[in-house]
Amino acid sequence: MADAAVEVTGLVKRYGRGSAARTALAGLDLTVYRGEVFGYLGPNGAGKTTTIRLLLDLIRPTAGSVRVLGDSPRHAASTRARIGYLAGDFVVSGGQTSRELLTYLGRLRGGVPAARIAALAERLDLDLSRRIGTLSKGNRQKVGIVQAFMHTPDLLVLDEPTSGLDPFLQQRFVELVQEARDNGQTVFMSSHVLSEVQATCERVGIIREGRLETVAKVEELREQAQRRIEITFADVVPAAEFESVAGLHGVTVGPHPGGGSALRAVLSGSPDELVKTAARYRVTGLLAEEPDLEELFFTFYEREGRS
């Protein structure tokens, strides 16, 4: 298909031989269209990184076919000039400065203007003149992000891109992805962080045990999301009133150490009705946990299984 940036059919990857063989991918089918931001989700060990390394020809498929930007990764090294890749464990030797590394990588791609590198580094608050060995994990990850984005590639392949970044930088990263999307670039990213997936992706694929379990729109995923909620009140509130709120389960009301009471529950779907109900009382604290993606996958699988 002409408008597919990534097209994977019947992809099988086994590591090792004989009795020690381990199947990482067991017949994966996946299509990512040009210009979309595609989230690639799944538990650890599901085969996300294996898929990504296959797209870049770092490893070779046992069976099945892969096409990236219209070419087979194995036979078109030049295609990789149009790909930006950020590994899940981005490691580079520490003896060089970020500027040296980025200039070198840019040269391998046929040259990236120094001004472009400087502009990206400034946005991420990265000091290019420091040796990479002296940088913190978060700062090294910034180097990884700069090298993936700096040549404005047609396709970005990002493996857990925001690991090690603080929330401020996660936000900067989300902006970079949104700009790439507005620019017509395709983004394929694996992630564990639901908020960044929600902020950037249109579609997500969920992989489990080496197979694509389902592809869904991000909104569908959000509706399924379960958040742990804790609201503290100045006074004691009746649990029964909250039990009738739509989407709220497992309501408990107990005494709060600081006085008053604390309501704990699990919320799925819209928080609107809960907020309105709580507003009838004096609220002293509100905590909504980020939904756990792993948990989310399993509720999603169950629902898919039933329907």
């Binding site: 870049l56 770092l58 990789r80 000039a81 590994a87 464990d89 003896g95 070198y104 990588l105």
Partner: protein, 263 residues
């Protein structure tokens, strides 16, 4: 070219350090020549050693400059140091980087496996050549002050050429094993094992009756058996060193193109 220069630049400290250390050892040995060359007692003491021991330790003749330099400066410590350096540089070229996890990034760029492997191999060979050239330059510089002018620049060049080829041979073994397996420990272990085994083949094992032929299988023997300090470069031995180098390098590159990168 970009990949080659980058590899040299990334390893400039290690490569430079080894080059200086090896040259310093060679210079130190050479500086002792006036002591040995003018000491007849020492010569007689050496003659008393059994022939097989003299052969095992390259202690053939300390009374001439070519004998002394062939046994000490270029005979023992320098080739061993060169072999150690060459193996570590060869293994580092692919397997070292691969196990450190830093190879993925470069190969995710528009760089083919072949291009990367050949550029890294060329950089490694250049580092070995630099060691040979530096040693030669220092030997030529101290030839007259250290009183071994009887060794002509041509003789010294010949031995340094053989030393360089010998280094390239072990670098290629380390490189080839590393590129083939992608495992640093296997490559280091395998190349070190070969170095020790072939050293024994050139020194102790031939002393055993009926095992004289094993000398023919050793890069250590190919390096000095032609006696380059008096007879110049021996093209048969030079060819053998080059052939083994090419064999290991080619085998490594061939498998490196086909296999998965280790993660």
């Amino acid at each position: 070219m970009t990949v080659l220069l980058k590899h040299l630049r990334d390893n400039r400290r290690a490569f430079g350090g080894w080059a200086v250390a090896i040259t310093a050892v060679a210079t130190m040995y050479a500086a002792f020549w006036p002591v040995f060359g003018h000491n007849a007692d020492l010569g007689r003491a050496m003659e008393a050693f059994p022939q097989s021991m003299k052969e095992a330790f390259h202690l053939t003749d300390y009374s001439t400059a070519s004998g002394y330099f062939g046994s000490t400066v270029f005979g023992l410590l320098v080739p061993i140091l060169v072999a150690v350096f060459a193996i570590s540089a060869g293994v580092r070229a692919i397997a070292g980087d691969e196990n450190a996890g830093t190879l993925d990034l470069v190969l995710a760029h528009p760089v083919t496996r072949t291009r990367l492997a050949l550029a890294r191999y060329a950089a490694t060979v250049l580092a070995i050549v630099a060691v040979g050239v530096l040693t030669l330059v220092v030997m030529l510089a101290i030839r007259i002050p250290a009183d071994f002018a009887e060794l002509s620049p041509g003789d010294l060049t010949a031995v340094c050429v053989m030393l360089t080829l010998f280094g390239v041979c072990f670098a290629s073994i380390g490189f080839g094993l590393g590129a083939y397996t992608g495992r640093r420990t296997i490559a280091l272990g395998g190349a070190a094992y070969l170095a020790v085994a072939t050293y024994l083949c050139s020194s102790f094992l031939p002393q055993i009756k009926g095992l004289g032929w094993v000398r023919w299988c050793s890069p250590f023997a190919w390096y000095l058996d032609g006696d380059p300090l008096t007879h110049g470069v021996n093209w048969v031995y030079a060819g053998l060193l080059a052939a083994v180098s090419l064999y290991f390098a080619a085998l490594g590159v061939w498998q490196f193109r086909r296999r998965d990168l280790t993660s």
